[in-house]
């Protein structure tokens, strides 16, 4: 069985993040990048399936050269190999273009039984790529999965919504995005760090994927960011000093905000 985990290299969410002044894309200079934490759940899910049986785990990323770090982290955690799509023409690609490129890469990887993704990227946060991918590849897609098992060519998922949990089954191959509730991603071990050095990573350009560079990137994006405005600084908030009536006043506040 071949599982592909999609991984994204993103600016560290704990650092101050900004947009490039010229083209309003994510500014990656001066900010440490790392593997999107939400993707660690996808890798862990893939490795859990692999631990329980015979499966190969491939980590796939699209991104500039620094994105190789996301692959490396996945390999250190235990993935078997990596594929890195890197091409200057990809800069500024929107979600539809990203999905098209990833779909081409998945076709090229071939014989993929299960694609696992995080529930969103911690920088873009749109959660649309998995569904778009499924559309391109004509596969089933189950999103926001809190638990799943693979058995007999079928993936059985529990999808957690706000009001109910649904049980969803899909025939493989399928695309499943997992939530941050599904597991506790493992740390790499030192052996994993050493082993990762020797694992194969293939780098692909748009030409390798037969994609016309003019159909991706910022210029081809279907939506354009005209302007970005910094969110106003958080205001002080309201401080309730307890003079014996603290509890009552807190409840009054919550009631006024319609929380209770």
């Amino acid at each position: 069985m071949k599982i592909v985990a999609l991984v994204k290299h993103v600016p560290d969410a704990t650092a101050e993040r900004t947009f490039d002044d010229a083209d309003h894309t994510t500014d990656r200079t001066g900010v440490d990048g790392l593997l999107s934490e939400l993707d660690e759940y996808a890798i862990e899910s893939a490795l859990t399936v692999a631990d329980g049986g015979d499966a190969e785990v491939v980590a796939l990323t699209m991104g500039p050269s620094g994105a190789a770090d996301a692959i490396k982290k996945a390999l250190q955690m235990g993935a078997d190999s990596g594929v890195h799509i890197s091409d200057d023409a990809l800069h500024g690609s929107d979600a539809p273009a990203t999905a098209r490129v990833l779909a081409a890469a998945l076709r090229r990887i071939g014989d993929v039984d299960l694609v696992l993704t995080g529930m969103a990227s911690t920088d873009g946060g749109m959660s649309v790529v998995p569904a778009m991918l499924a559309e391109h590849l004509d596969l089933a897609h189950v999103g926001f999965v809190g638990e799943f098992s693979v058995d007999d060519g079928t993936v059985r998922c529990r999808r957690d919504g706000d009001t109910a949990s649904e049980s969803v089954e899909a025939a493989l191959p399928a695309i499943v995005s997992v939530t941050d509730q599904i597991n506790e991603p493992r740390y790499p071990s030192f052996k994993g760090i050493m082993a990762a050095k020797k694992k194969p990573v293939e780098t692909l350009s748009l030409a390798d994927l037969d994609i016309d560079p003019s159909t991706v990137g910022l210029a081809a994006a279907t939506s354009v960011v005209d302007e970005v405005t910094k969110r106003p600084e958080r205001t002080q908030g309201e401080i309730v000093t307890d003079e014996g009536d603290g509890g009552t006043r807190l409840v009054e506040y919550l009631a006024a905000q319609k929380f209770v």
Partner: protein
């Protein structure tokens, strides 16, 4: 402020980063409460073991990480900067494996070392006795040969991991010939006659159990003797050379944590209309603290580099242990001072650092004994 480290390989960099992340996420938040409750974090140490940290300096052939000491010690320092008990635990475990790894026969190492350094097990190092501390060669625990085993009788004192370890590297007397009459044994925790006292009620490192270890007719197979009969004291001292640079690294991490806490506080605490770090009396104290921490780090790394190149490093290990632990005591004392009143409360970690620093001047050879080692070396130089 993360310490910028010089490491030899990209893998060592990834290792240090990983350790920093684990220490921040899993160790730091748990430390204060566990120390308060005197609760040893066995599960966290097991997790570190699974990550490979309990076998880092040992051979790959046996499942170790084959890392040079300068990397291993910086890992210890990173752990100590978040939780000294855990760093000490890793260091003492390494010390406990040292006799087998360096003096065991090929057969013995093949048989026991992989499990010992594999991450699931924890070791203890049993040298001190109630009446033989600094003068460890005055020990009275005996090992008497009986057929193809030895029978051990006596009392070991101050044993870190006493009662929770899976194996005990025990030094015992096989003849009355002073330091030449001591041998080393690898005793499994489930040996009959091995019992433990209650954990000592300590000033600091309260989460790290330190106990008496009683050996009451403990029968140990002769094949568990490490090295020749009578070679034990030499093994113990060699192991301590390695242990002492470990303690130096732990003390450096502890001092770094105290410095970071004090500097952060001094940057934001205002008195007389400005942050207190801007008052030279405080700024210079912090500068001296930074100098002490960096000097300590440079010394343990210098000793490590000699070791990694196969050079003798006994004196350098003693110097590193002496200076790093004295500096840690000074730096943690000053950290309490920089924080003022709050520094004296348990709402801030610096008073704990101060209590933890003290013992580092005492164990693995008091700092007087380190001076003795250095002085003896200087004396010999004249011969």
């Amino acid at each position: 402020m993360p310490v910028e480290r010089v490491v030899p390989t990209p893998e060592a960099r990834d290792l240090i980063d990983l350790v920093g992340k684990i220490a921040d996420r899993d160790l730091a938040p748990a430390a204060a409460a566990a120390e308060e409750a005197a609760r040893y974090p066995r599960e966290l140490v097991r997790m570190l073991g699974r990550t490979g940290l309990l076998g880092l300096p040992y051979d790959e052939e046996f499942g170790g990480g084959a890392q040079p000491y300068d990397v291993y010690l910086q890992v210890l320092e990173e752990l100590a900067a978040r939780w000294a008990t855990v760093a000490l635990s890793v260091s003492v475990h390494g010390l406990s494996c040292w006799p087998l790894a360096n003096y065991g026969s090929a057969e013995q190492r093949k048989r026991w070392l992989p499990d010992m350094i594999g991450g699931e097990q924890l070791g203890a190092y049993c040298l001190s006795e109630p009446h033989a501390g600094s003068d460890a060669a005055a020990m009275s625990t005996r090992a008497v040969r009986d057929g193809d085993s030895y029978v051990l009788d006596g009392t070991k004192a101050w044993i870190t991991h006493g009662g929770i370890a899976d194996f005990y590297s025990v030094f015992a007397r096989t003849s009355d010939d002073g330091a030449r009459g001591i041998s080393c044994f690898l005793v499994p925790a489930d040996a009959d006659g091995l019992t433990f006292g209650a954990a000592e009620h300590k000033m600091g490192l309260t989460a790290s159990p330190t106990t008496i270890v009683n050996l009451d007719g403990v029968r140990v197979a002769a094949e568990r003797r490490i090295g020749d009969e009578g070679a034990g004291f030499g093994i113990a001292l060699h192991a301590l050379d390695a242990g002492r640079v470990g303690v130096a690294a732990v003390a450096t991490g502890l001092a770094q944590a105290a410095l970071d806490e004090a500097a952060a506080y001094a940057r934001q605490r205002e008195q007389f209309g400005r942050p207190v770090i801007g008052h030279q009396g405080v700024g210079f104290t912090l500068a001296d603290m930074a100098a002490s921490v960096q000097a300590a780090r440079a010394l343990y790394l210098a000793a490590a580099q000699r070791r990694d190149r196969g050079l003798g490093y006994r004196q350098q290990a003693a110097v590193a242990k002496l200076v790093a632990t004295d500096n840690a005591m000074k730096v943690t004392t000053d950290a309490v001072q920089v924080l003022g009143g709050v520094g004296y409360t348990r709402d801030f970690p610096v008073e704990r650092y101060f209590r933890e620093a003290k013992v580092m001047q005492i164990f693995e050879g008091t700092n007087q004994i380190q001076r003795l080692v250095i002085a003896r070396d200087l004396e010999r130089f004249g011969e």
